[in-house]
Amino acid sequence: MTWKRAVLGLFGLAAIALLAWAAVNRQHLEHFPSIISSFYAKQMCSCLFVVGLSEERCHNESRQYVPISGCEIDWENKAVTVRGLGRTNRAHYVNDRFGCVLDELD
């Protein structure tokens, strides 16, 4: 069954190539999923606590094509925690000069 071997071989080569690519781009791939929740959290925090728009409006400004799975606004501490693509990231308001900043990367 030569053709089967050929197909398996091709799959094998493709898998090796994919793994090699993933290894080369390991760092990029590792951080990539955090983009969605980080961006949303930072935009949302600044929109609410620096610019001062409504919650509904800020959601509309912050959303991306990849949806998030959760957003929690801590009004008391002026912080926004967002979950998306399996990662959770938080941004918090510092003060009226320095606005918002992202916490440590998930």
Binding site: N25, Q27, H28, L29, H31, F32, S34, I35, I36, S38, F39, K42, S46, V50, V51, G52, L53, S54, R57, N60, E61, Q64, Y65, V66, V94, D96, R97, F98, G99, C100, V101, L102, E104, L105
Partner: protein, 454 residues
């Protein structure tokens, strides 16, 4: 993954045909457009001096009617009477000069502009299409026009008011340019110095040759990928702002591999701006640095709305995260219009504005195929000036060649036109490139050029 976040800092997004549905507009001292669920429906006008936060002085059903009524109100406040046209003809000095606690307001005609022409510009800017959910079409949040130091037109939409600070995105880079100007005036740095002199992370045989000037003119040679769509996984700017670089954006940038010999190739890089801000932190020290933008720039200019966000290490995100109201952004533009002098006090050193508004040397000499459309890059400013010797034409033919601009993602602009004594600020949330900066500017400029000299 193309388009997840769209391209970040491109000052000139791709263009689509204008889909505008005319909303309404006025060329008065203040225009307040209220955004409904979909587009701008109601437009109200304040005469100069009316309470900006209170109820509108006039709810405009028809533009001309509102202009007349608002003009009449202005007459009453000035102790004059008659129609709007008569009030215009009795206008005093057209020169308002530097603003005090706020801008002095004038009807456009009083400051030597053609109000009808300006109406066209304003209606273009305040045109909106689609719904909030679509985030499509022209989505102006605010604009301010300053002529001869007078605020001649202003408008807000989509829930923004004259008191709402707006994210400047990459216009923040021009603020970084100003902070460096101040540091140069104070003798803290020299632009010709190797950056490694102030920032040891840049030590090395090649990167050690990178000067502050290379960074200011975005030709450090450090590898950078500003676009998101071209390579979402490897976008340097996204990684810097949101993932691996966010704790220390300057160090993130300084650690990039060297791609070109310093000073040879211009490449738009938000990283270099944050590297400049990181260097300034080393120069000023932890005590002075956090106060510096306010003490040296925002406070002297009276920019009370200024917000400057920082990264995880406390470095100002000079590439992207400055906020101010359009009126305060206009103050910043006016500083450059006045060549760095504010109320007789020199903030930017003599020649700094000229230095910063020349075409980046590496841009002039680099492969034309690698250049970008739109205005030409200067030192953290964008320029309308041509350079025939390097094959660079005038980007916006309807705008004077001496115009220069701070430009930011999603439609932000502060445009300075020294030859017309004009500053034009526009904030927005353009997601699809419908709004054409060149068209908007040409319309405003037409309102200046067709008016008789004041």
């Amino acid at each position: 993954m193309r388009g997840i976040l769209s391209r970040w800092f491109a000052p000139f997004p791709r263009r689509l045909p204008l889909l505008g549905t005319f909303a309404s507009c006025l060329c008065l001292a203040t225009i307040q457009a209220s955004s409904g669920e979909g587009d701008i429906r109601g437009v109200s006008a304040h005469a100069a001096g009316a309470d900006p936060s209170g109820q509108p002085a006039v709810v405009a059903g028809r533009q001309a009617d509102a202009v007349e009524r608002a003009s009449s109100r202005l007459d009453e406040e000035r102790g004059t009477s008659g129609t709007g046209d008569q009030a215009v003809s009795r206008a005093g000095s057209a020169e308002c000069g530097w603003p005090g606690s706020d801008w002095e307001e004038r009807l456009p005609e009083d400051a030597g502009m053609d109000g009808d022409k300006l109406d066209e510009a304003v209606s273009y800017a305040l045109t909106t299409t689609g719904t909030e959910q679509d985030r499509a079409g022209i989505r102006t949040d605010g604009f301010v026009i300053i002529h001869h130091g007078c605020l001649v037109a202003e408008g807000y939409a989509r829930g923004f008011t004259r008191d709402t600070p707006h994210l400047a995105w990459s216009m923040s880079k021009s603020v970084t340019n100003a902070l460096y100007g101040i540091a140069v005036r104070q003798g803290l740095v020299t632009m010709e110095s190797p950056a490694a002199k102030y920032y040891p992370l840049l030590d090395g045989p090649v990167r050690g040759q990178i000067t502050l000037e290379h960074l200011m003119f975005m030709s450090s040679g450090l590898e950078w990928s500003e676009g998101y769509e071209a390579s979402p996984l490897k976008s340097s700017v996204i990684a810097m702002l949101y993932t691996s670089g966010r704790d220390d954006m300057a160090a993130f940038t300084a650690s990039r591999p060297v791609e070109f010999p310093p000073g040879t190739v211009w490449e738009y890089s938000s990283g270099t701006t944050n590297l400049l801000m990181g260097i300034l932190k080393e120069v000023l020290g932890p005590e002075r640095y956090p106060r510096y933008p306010w003490e040296e720039l925002f406070d002297p200019l009276g920019m009370t709305s200024a917000v400057f966000e920082r990264d995880g290490s406390g470095t100002f995100v000079g590439s992207s995260y400055f906020y101010a109201t359009p009126r305060d952004m206009a103050r910043f533009g006016y500083l450059y219009l006045q060549e760095g002098v504010w109320k007789g006090r020199r903030l930017l050193p003599e020649g700094w504005v000229t230095y910063s508004t020349r075409i980046a040397p590496a841009y002039r000499t680099m492969d034309p195929a690698l250049r970008e459309p739109g205005m030409h890059p200067g030192g953290h400013w964008w320029l309308n000036q041509p350079d025939s010797s390097s094959g660079l034409g005038v980007p916006y033919s309807g705008v004077p060649e001496d115009a220069f601009a701070a430009l930011g993602h999603w439609g932000q602009s502060i445009v300075v036109v020294p030859s017309l004594d004009l500053v034009i600020v526009r904030t927005g949330d353009d997601r699809d490139g419908t709004f054409e900066l060149g068209k908007w500017l040409a319309l405003v400029v037409a309102g200046v050029r067709q008016a008789p000299s004041p």
